[in-house]
Symmetry: C2
Subunit: 220 residues, 2 copies
DNA sequence: GATAGTTTCATACAACTGTTTGAATTGCAA
DNA sequence: TTGCAATTCAAACAGTTGTATGAAACTATC
């Protein structure tokens, strides 16, 4: 029996409880009860509650990021260093959407945890998210190579909007279902991915002269 | 001297502290110290901490919603019941963006509070947000009238994406600035509004007759 | 100016939090 | 086995939190 039995029991219990009930009202005592270990074990194995949360989030994050980069790399290699913008965007938002949407009953604990992390923002997770910039820069680079005529500003805005649509859809999936009375089917993940990719592509490829004049007349 | 001096002092202090430091680490004792009132005053005047937060958020929300609906009503009346989709979208995302973006030093406490409320989601605020659906339905209705050929599903997705871009840009404005190394100028609010409106318009009109849209051709 | 109602105040309460402690237990090597 | 380190455990700690209490201070009405 591996000596880290306690450690992984805590991780599993914590992820499950956080996913179900949110960070707000899950205490260390809840976690150790669920994991059938002693209260002190958390501090012994992780140092602090925040480090436990951070480890959970980091683990899931790097898994997603790796998946994104894998898709990106494949696409760029296939295109001789330049991938179509749609494919880049799909690599950016696909893994996250696929991980977090889909039929509720078959949504993994990991996915539900990541949704929580996206809805309820807690300090240890925010700190980690701030370090994600380097990761996004790689995508900005790929997008620039794919659309060399496009200004940097437009690239960044396109990236921002793509992430916006993906993350917001995950965060507010429940509300969108209710608002649309079920007409928007969030279980059809590939359809959601294509919608996001298609709009983001339009944002990045439409209307050339759009970017520079902030003093344009705003119709009113 | 008005008898609600204490009440409004608490509201003002709470909004300021929450805006500056977030909900997580502002206690009732911080608030009453800032407001120079007694600790018990919060429970006396508001019932509980959560009700205080709720009152703050509700006040600001209905102000924004009223502004949105005012813009929408003006536009629809001018168009004889049908407003151009761009104008509807501008009424939807304009007030929020104008309230929350802009030069940091001239951002109101109210705006900074609303940004906090958007970043750190706490239970009393989440409960209120869930009741916002009726408000959004009004916009969905206006959009349907503006684009009668469009399916409901497409309308809801367009609405969802418009809100996504606006809210995400507010939430992650700092990160976008850092990622773009300042190239994306979030202080030019009207430029941001036009970017969001333009992309959302494309999302809603692409692949259909562009007859009425004065916007540029959406490449695809 | 006494009275009734509201508001303020200092203080205590009760519960819960993450963390620490130091002794017991376990697993493993010599 | 003996010795030693790693782990587990019950218990307590120290701090904070939101809330409740009951007396005091006001305010306005009669």
């Amino acid at each position: 029996m591996p000596s880290d039995h306690t450690r992984s029991a805590i991780l599993a219990a914590a992820e499950r409880l956080y996913a179900d009930r949110g960070f707000g009202d899950v205490t260390l005592r809840d976690i150790v009860a669920e994991a059938n270990v002693n209260l002190a074990a958390v501090n012994y194995h992780f140092g602090s509650k925040d480090e436990l949360i951070a480890e959970l989030f980091v683990t899931r994050s790097i898994a997603t990021n790796r998946e994104r980069l894998r898709e990106l790399k494949t696409a760029e290699e296939a295109g001789g260093g330049r991938a179509p913008i749609e494919v880049i965007l799909r690599a950016l938002v696909g893994p996250t959407l696929r991980g977090c949407l889909g039929p509720e009953n078959q949504r993994s604990t990991a996915a539900r945890f990541m949704i929580r992390a996206s809805i309820e923002s807690v300090p240890p997770i925010r700190r980690i998210k701030n370090r994600e910039i380097d990761h996004l820069r790689k995508f900005a680079g790929a997008m620039r190579r794919s659309l060399p005529d496009r200004s940097d500003v437009d690239i960044y805005w396109g990236l921002n909007f793509a992430l916006a649509m993906a993350h917001h859809t995950i965060r507010e999936s429940e509300r969108l279902t209710k608002l649309s009375e079920g007409k928007c089917n969030l279980d059809d993940v590939e359809d959601v991915v294509e919608r996001v990719v298609s709009v983001a592509t339009m944002a990045l490829t439409a209307g050339r002269t759009e970017a520079k004049a902030p003093s344009k007349v705003a119709a009113r």
